[in-house]
């Protein structure tokens, strides 16, 4: 029991993922700044933002559903922490003794987005509701593609749904991305991660220039700090998930530590570059993108994987 609480609160959970995700969020902002020929924020910027938001006044809109509005961001953080535990424990080679984690992770990764939607709907602001409905449509778009990716991964790993075994298979036979189907899956999963992180081609739900922050519009002070924390954690968790299912996971001996960190930074770098070189899509375009193209790619990858490519 104490071990489980330690997992949740300290090591792969809240503290570790919060700090690691904060650093990655600095990395993302710094790269964005360099792409735009700017200097960019200092290293500790995410922590300054977090502490400042914690110290600020929290406003509850007068026509909001008070309890739900306050609890939704906490639910988002809890979901993000749980998914980080389930992904990073196998990622670090610690066995949780649980064999169906791929399916659980799929559901847990959806919790933060759902929590934002609940919070936005509870805030009673029409523009936040607009953001929530956009986010819902986006979820409907990308979840099927992600599910197809996971199906292909299960097929490639020889019908196992345990992340530990998926990593073990990759460390024996080389990472999945080395095959043609693996590359297709990598493209699809990167796009899903981009949409889950709500980064630019898919930041439809919190488009600042159109709907002034969308789903996050009414959050302030403590609630906004929790939203930020959940976002930091997701910025660590989702790229690690891609590394675990396609790039062979992490390893912690000798030179492999460097490779593991580089893999993670490489994935984040790719996400940031996509984010900085694309305009925002409309909701219809992004649904079409996932429903037609990404699903097509994923199905081709499944067929290829079935024939062993």
């Amino acid at each position: 029991m104490a071990g489980h609480i330690f997992y949740f609160l300290i090591f792969p959970g809240l503290l570790f993922a919060g700090v690691g995700g904060g650093l990655l969020s600095w990395f993302d902002r710094k790269i964005t700044a360099r792409v735009q020929f700017r200097v960019g924020p200092p290293l500790l910027q995410p922590f300054y933002d977090f502490v400042k938001l914690m110290a600020k006044e929290t406003i509850i809109p007068s026509n909001a559903a008070k309890t739900v509005f306050l609890l939704a961001p906490i639910l988002a953080v809890a979901g993000a922490c749980l998914s980080s535990v389930f992904i990073l424990l196998p990622g670090f080679g610690i066995s949780s003794g649980f064999r169906g984690d791929l399916v659980v992770v799929f559901y847990l990764l959806m919790v933060p987005s759902l929590a934002y939607i609940i919070g936005a709907l509870a805030s009673g602001n029409p523009i936040a509701n607009l953001g929530a409905s956009r986010e819902m449509k986006l979820i409907i778009g990308y979840e099927l593609s992600l599910l197809l990716v996971l199906a292909a991964i299960i097929l490639k790993a020889g019908n196992t749904i345990s992340l530990n075994e998926i990593i073990a298979v990759q460390q024996q036979q080389g990472a999945f991305i080395g095959s043609i189907s693996g590359m297709l899956l990598f493209i699809v999963s990167m796009m899903c991660v981009q949409a889950k992180l709500a980064f630019v081609p898919f930041d439809i739900a919190d488009a600042e220039t159109e709907i002034a922050g969308g789903i996050f519009l009414e959050f302030s002070g403590f609630t906004l700090a929790m939203v930020k924390l959940a976002k930091y954690i997701m910025l660590l968790v989702l790229p690690s998930f891609v590394v675990v299912i396609l790039l062979g996971g992490f390893r912690f001996e000798g030179i492999h530590i460097l490779w593991s960190v580089l893999k993670l930074l490489g994935v984040v770098l790719l996400i940031t570059l996509v984010r900085n070189t694309n305009p925002r899509l409309t909701i219809g375009q992004s649904m079409r993108f996932f429903f037609i193209w990404m699903n097509l790619f994923a199905i081709i990858a499944i067929v290829l994987a079935y024939f062993g490519y």
């Binding site: 902002r29 700044a33 735009q36 020929f37 700017r38 200097v39 960019g40 924020p41 200092p42 500790l44 910027q45 922590f47 300054y48 933002d49 502490v51 400042k52 110290a55 600020k56 006044e57 929290t58 406003i59 600042e208 220039t209 002034a212 922050g213 996050f216 519009l217 009414e218 959050f219 302030s220 002070g221 906004l224």
Partner: protein
């Protein structure tokens, strides 16, 4: 200096309220975000919702129509909040001061912390104003 106020100074998020300005001041505010001036290196960000704001930038003169809106935006923002009046119009009324729709310089309506004069002030002047305020308080 406590950690709270230190972090507050390191991470100011700006909300831009454009009154009945001639729009030059608004353009100069946007200039601060360009690669040449890059306010993000001080942790400042331009945000879209006043609920996230730490700094309320008021540019332009305030007329009878926007007075009530300015008050509403001010009350919607979470405190602590720094109010900055930008340009001659915000501070005194400037060229609009004699107009019959003019509803008063900004500091008659809400308390102002920083005044940045100029018509329009240069981006350097806006940055210098905010940095001076931070060093003083």
């Amino acid at each position: 200096m406590g950690i709270k106020s230190y972090c507050f100074k390191k991470s100011l998020w700006l909300y831009h309220f454009a009154g009945a300005s001639c729009n030059n001041c608004d353009i100069e505010v946007l200039d601060c975000l360009t690669p040449r001036y890059d306010v993000e290196r001080f942790g400042m960000l331009l945000i879209g919702s006043v609920r996230h704001a730490d700094v309320l930038l008021v540019a332009g003169s305030i007329n009878k129509k926007c007075k009530s809106r300015l008050l509403e935006v001010y009350h919607q923002a979470p405190k602590p909040l720094v109010v900055v009046a930008i340009g001659a119009c915000g501070i005194t009324g400037g060229v609009f001061a004699e107009g019959n729709t003019f509803a008063g310089p900004v500091d008659k309506i809400i308390p102002v912390d920083v005044y940045i004069p100029g018509c329009p002030p240069k981006p350097e002047a806006i940055l210098a104003g905010i940095v001076n305020f931070l060093n003083k308080s």
